[in-house]
Amino acid sequence: MAKMMKVTNSIRSLRFAKGEMTQAELADHVHVTRQTIIAIEQGRYSPSLEMAFQIANVFGVPLNDVFQYPEEET
């Protein structure tokens, strides 16, 4: 069972909105491995702030549109 992070993301939907960009293409833009993009999408890895901004820049949207940090319910 994969360890899930609290940080969620909308990379998959943003990729499809951006002309069905593949994971490999996004990885190439950000200069990371495709496996890292897969891990981020699946919530198995939270990227550094720098990589998070790079991903947001690829889609041309603010960071909050790519990554979310839902508040815990009390």
Partner: protein, 170 residues
């Protein structure tokens, strides 16, 4: 026996569950498999002499040096073969973005650091055991082999920690 079980498990993982692996993850697999194979060979060579020949007369030095060299050499060769196989496979599949085959990113570095730290703790504990053997004046055969085992186990635990981090996340 354990070597065989380890290989069967690795084969099962690689065969039945086709998973995308980064270059660093594949390299970790290569290193682990080579270590298990070579150390298994060394163990079978040395252990079969235990009980038959006095410990002081077991000629472990030469096999130990050869296996240390073999681990380094076979890991390099294995990594080269794995790289070529990955490139050929990417070409056959028509993966146009195969240029990220040997790419290493921040996730690889973090996983590597985490794995090395875990391996360091294991090796440190092993070295304490070796120190105890030396203080109790055990034969150099036991001291040398305990040290060898310490590095091998430390390396394998480090690799295992990395592979778990690659699969499960952290």
């Amino acid at each position: 026996m354990y070597t065989m079980l380890y290989i069967i498990k690795c084969k099962a993982i690689l065969t039945f569950k086709e998973v995308a692996m980064s270059f660093e993850e594949k390299s970790t697999w290569v290193n682990s498999l080579v270590t298990v194979l070579v150390v298994g060979f060394y163990s079978s060579f040395v252990l079969r002499q235990l009980g038959k020949v006095p410990v002081t007369e077991i000629s472990y030095q030469r096999p130990m040096i050869i296996t240390i060299g073999a681990i380094i050499l076979m890991t390099i060769v294995g990594t080269i073969i794995m790289s070529i196989a990955t490139a050929v496979s990417a070409t056959i599949k028509g993966d146009s973005l195969a240029d990220d085959i040997d790419r290493k990113d921040e996730r690889d570095e973090l996983i590597n650091r985490r794995g090395e730290l875990v391996g360091y703790y294991v090796s440190s504990a092993g070295v304490l055991g070796v120190l105890a053997l030396a203080m109790m004046r055990f034969d150099q055969f036991w001291i040398a082999n305990a040290l060898y085992l310490t590095f091998v186990v430390g390396g394998l635990v480090s690799s295992a920690a990395k592979l778990v981090a690659y699969r499960r996340g952290f």
